[in-house]
């Protein structure tokens, strides 16, 4: 019943929603939020190019062959989770298959101030907190995929830190997708760091095989309370058939720090929405991103930093390397509200085109309503600097290795912002391989 024809995708999704609603985790007000979200989604429909936010990323093609909303969880048992574990990274490794927490494979966290469980458990055990936070940060985000996620998501991770908890090791979340034939599914993480708590989170996305084809619509809501610190690193390295849609929405209270790094290497079609809302004074956040695209890959990175309060600082650095017939998008918006005086906001996006068939669309935006601010953005697109190339060649490097070295150096600027050393080395290795 759930493989749906294109024309009625939206309508049939809402039918499936009505059918499933009573089983979805969350109390009455979460159900209300879900209902509102599906209403919003039905109104918006899947975004077309006429939607300014999807000007360079047409989604209509993605759903041409229909979608499959049924759970294809039988093959989870076949997954060799060990394969995805980076053994030299000392962390709490947590495994999720299609969003479902695999407790048997995941590390246990022996800390009573830190809770890591799936959404269903959270909705029962921490019902008050779950009901308070679920969907609250993205309710006003006018994006069809985010709204659809809020409405339908039943799986994902709940991470809750209280009483000044500081997790001793990074939390490494491995997302493995097994879906095939347009399996369209939603995962939703809810991460809350209470006052003075701090945590490092690494999240990676892999496909089970080299070719299984699915559409993942993932969402992470992250709440960083007063003086909290959250470092959130994301790596997307799925197979070349995967469609990856992600929304990360962070809400920062005063004097908090949010540091994020998004590395995108895989997938056929990708979209990353990264929204940061500065809900208190003296917040600081860093947004770094790197993408290396080849073949027919398409990736759209959207960032929004909403400076709602004074004395906050944000920093963005996005870099991309595009070859073959790939296409990339960077759309970054800095929004400074009327009261957000003394804001410092910077943004820089740089990309390198290596082929005549590759294309890059950039739209860095500033929307500023406060006068005592320092905001700037810079963007450049070009190719490998011939002077630098000559310099290296004059020192005996072959053209090929000189090029690789320069590209590697270009990418390294972003990788260097990662604070967890073993993970940084792991990324360095991945980048080096993908440039070969």
């Amino acid at each position: 019943m759930n493989t749906i024809s294109t024309i009625n995708n939206v309508q049939l999704i809402s039918e499936v929603f009505t059918e499933r609603l009573s089983q979805l985790p969350g109390g009455n007000n979460v159900q209300e939020i879900r209902r509102k979200a599906i209403e919003q989604f039905t109104k918006l429909g899947f975004p077309l190019r006429s939607n300014e936010e999807y000007k360079y990323s047409d989604t209509s093609k993605l759903f041409k062959e229909g979608i499959n909303l049924a759970h294809a969880d039988d093959d989870i048992s076949k997954v060799d989770f060990n394969k995805y574990k980076q053994k030299n990274i000392d962390a709490y490794h947590i495994f999720l298959a299609n969003g479902e927490l695999i407790s048997t494979e995941s590390d246990k966290i022996e800390n009573n101030k830190v809770e890591v469980c799936d959404l269903k458990t959270a909705a029962e055990k921490y019902d008050k907190i779950f009901n308070q936070y679920y969907g609250s940060s993205v309710a006003k985000f006018n994006d069809a995929f985010a709204q659809l996620n809020i409405a339908l998501a039943s799986k994902g991770l709940f991470v809750y830190l209280k009483d000044r908890a500081k997790l001793d090791k990074p939390l490494f979340i491995h997302n493995i997708s097994t879906g095939t034939d347009n399996h369209f599914f939603q995962t939703h993480h809810l991460i809350i760091a209470e006052t003075l708590c701090s945590i490092d989170i690494i999240e990676d996305f892999y496909s089970q095989t080299n070719s299984n084809q699915y559409i993942l619509n993932s969402l992470a809501e992250i709440f960083v309370k007063e003086q909290g610190i959250v470092n959130y690193y994301k790596l997307q390295n799925e197979n070349e058939n995967a469609i990856h849609i992600n929304t990360t929405h962070a809400v920062q209270d005063k004097q908090s720090l949010f540091d994020t790094n998004t590395v995108s290497l895989g997938g056929k079609w990708g979209r990353n929405n990264l929204n940061i809302l500065m809900n208190g004074i003296n917040c600081e956040s860093h947004l770094n991103g790197l993408f290396v695209l080849k073949g027919q890959q398409h990736l759209d990175n959207h960032t929004l930093v909403d400076h709602q309060n004074p004395h906050c600082e944000s920093n963005q650095l996005y870099k991309g390397i595009l070859s073959d017939k790939s296409s990339g998008v960077f759309n970054g918006k800095i929004y400074v509200r009327k009261d957000a005086q003394k804001t410092n906001a910077y943004q820089s996006s740089k990309s390198m085109l290596l082929s005549d068939d590759a294309s890059m669309n950039t739209k860095p935006q500033l929307e500023i309503y406060a006068d005592d601010v320092k905001c700037s953005h810079g963007s450049s697109t070009g190719q490998i600097d011939t002077n630098a190339l000559f310099y290296l060649r004059a020192r005996g490097l072959s053209e090929d290795s000189a090029r690789k070295l320069l590209m590697y150096a270009f990418a390294l600027d972003v990788i260097n912002t990662v604070k967890i050393e073993p993970y940084r080395h792991y990324l360095e290795e991945l980048i080096e391989n993908s440039l070969n």
Partner: protein, 483 residues
């Protein structure tokens, strides 16, 4: 500081007078009949009427663009506008003696004395002026001097009659009537404007200028300018505009088309000073303009310079299509908004040829309750080898009730392109102010100095005559409005 702000925001619009010139107007509203009326009044050939009607039919199928620009205004009632108004009696003017004295007075008030121009007619390097009041071009000066060189500079209506082959060939070639809502509207109802043709290898000896003025209440102004520089030609063209102060919003929807052939160059400068509305945001001109030029031949160059201080709403993107190899496009802009003004302006640089270069320098200044947006597109087409673009967009905020925004679009489809974009937003630095004040300048003078320095890059690109006017305009609209 607040009293200085008050002083500035209450400063009067000095071109806000009306002239009691007897006018002949069309009835309000828009229909095929009105278009036939306009066409008949202007005694136009059939092909022109056909063009208008086609545009009108297209316009009826189009939707008023609202969703994308950072602007906010009530719906425009297109049936509540007079589409034709001309000074009466309308007969062919051969000498200045025949011009309505009231009209001459108007131009004196505006600071362009046609008589003065006449007297100086023997002298080279002054300005040839085409003055357009409401719907009709009233006088073009220096025509004879220019004709000697083979330069055609006349009103659009005259060109339709005297040079139909040029008008037919080029009109709509850069901005087709299908282009956008206001271009379609303009194509249907445009009443006059300037036409300029620079023949092969001719360097225009003087600045060409058009002065636009909306006078009659309830009228819209729809002028159309067409400039063609044939191979190796050069011209510098200036455009100025004012309107009386009125409580209602007046609509101005112009189209400017420029065609630059091989090795030719056009420099187009605008000082836009339409009535911006009063200090509560009442009245003012809606300025919805489509300006576009094409660098058609190799080694051609087109340069736009604009100083935008007027209009309640500005919606304007002077663009360059860089088709010829080695062609160059430039855009220099200063946009100032005060009170409740809204501006959404910028440029489009479309690179199609090889080794094409473009430069964008945009300076936005917002004060009062205004919103000032830069919106620009840089597109490097596939096969546009070694294209180069540099863009710089700076915004200056004065006061905490205004907004400054930057929306650049950068689309690159060729690996050999090098495209750079920079934007900053800030207020006037305390340290800069302190430095000036400490050397004995009062706040107002210090701000004027800093703002002028901030805009210098753009003002330097203006022809002498305009640079002075522009600097004064900036001083009037902004002196000391920093808190």
């Amino acid at each position: 500081m607040s009293d200085i702000l008050e002083e500035i925001t209450s400063s009067e619009y000095k071109y806000g007078f009306t002239s009691n010139i007897e006018m002949e107007t069309a009835p309000k509203g828009l229909s095929e009949d009105i278009i036939r009326f306009i066409s008949q009044k202007k005694n136009e050939p059939d092909w022109m009427l056909e063009f208008r009607l086609q545009a009108f039919r297209k316009w009826q199928t189009m939707e008023e663009p609202k969703h994308w620009a950072h602007l906010n205004y009530p719906k425009i009632d297109f049936q509540d506008i007079i589409y034709y108004a001309a000074p009466k009696p309308k007969k062919k003017l051969n000498s200045l003696d025949e011009v309505d004295p009231e009209l001459l007075k108007t131009f004196e008030k505006l600071g362009i004395s046609l008589e003065e121009q006449k007297r100086l007619s023997g002298v080279e390097s002054t300005i040839a002026v085409d003055a357009v009041i409401d719907s009709v071009s009233v006088k073009t000066t220096f025509k004879e001097v220019l004709a000697e060189k083979g330069i055609i500079f006349c009103s659009f209506s005259e060109a339709v009659h005297e040079h139909p082959e040029l008008v037919k060939k080029y009109m709509g070639s850069v901005v087709p009537y299908t282009d956008n809502y206001y271009a379609a509207l303009n194509s249907a109802v445009f009443t006059d404007g300037s036409f300029c043709y620079i023949p092969k290898g001719v360097r225009c000896p003087m600045e060409l200028s058009t002065y636009f003025r909306i006078n009659t209440s309830g009228t819209g102004q729809f002028e159309r300018t067409l400039i063609i520089a044939d191979e190796g030609g050069y011209a510098s063209y200036l455009e100025g505009c004012t309107a009386p102060s009125r409580d209602e919003n007046q609509l101005h929807a112009a189209v400017v088309e420029i065609i630059v052939h091989e090795n030719a160059e056009i420099k187009y400068s605008t000082v836009q000073n339409w009535y911006p509305g009063d200090k509560d945001g009442k009245g003012g001109v809606y300025n919805f303009v489509t300006k576009r030029g094409i660098c058609f031949g190799d080694n051609s160059k087109l340069s736009w310079t604009q100083v935008e201080t007027g209009s309640a709403i500005t919606w304007k993107y002077p663009s360059v299509i860089l088709k010829g190899n080695n062609s160059v496009g430039e855009f220099y802009s200063v946009a100032v908004t005060n009170n409740y003004q809204q501006a959404d302006t910028g440029t489009k640089m479309i690179h199609l040829g090889s080794n094409t270069r473009s430069t964008i320098v945009s300076k936005g200044i917002s004060a009062g309750f205004s919103n000032n947006s830069y919106r620009g597109l840089v597109r490097i087409g596939k096969g546009a080898k070694n294209a180069r673009n540099f863009s710089q967009c700076d915004s200056l905020l004065m006061g905490d009730k205004c907004g400054a925004h930057t929306f650049p679009y950068i689309e690159i489809k060729d690996k050999s392109a090098i495209v750079e974009h920079e934007a900053t937003t800030s207020k006037i630095g305390e340290d800069q102010l302190f430095y000036c004040k400490q050397r004995g300048l009062d706040t107002e003078k210090a701000v004027a100095l800093i703002v002028n320095g901030y805009c210098k890059e753009v003002l330097n690109k203006l022809p002498m005559e305009f640079a002075v006017e522009a600097q004064k305009l900036l001083a009037v609209s902004l002196e000391g409005s920093v808190g």
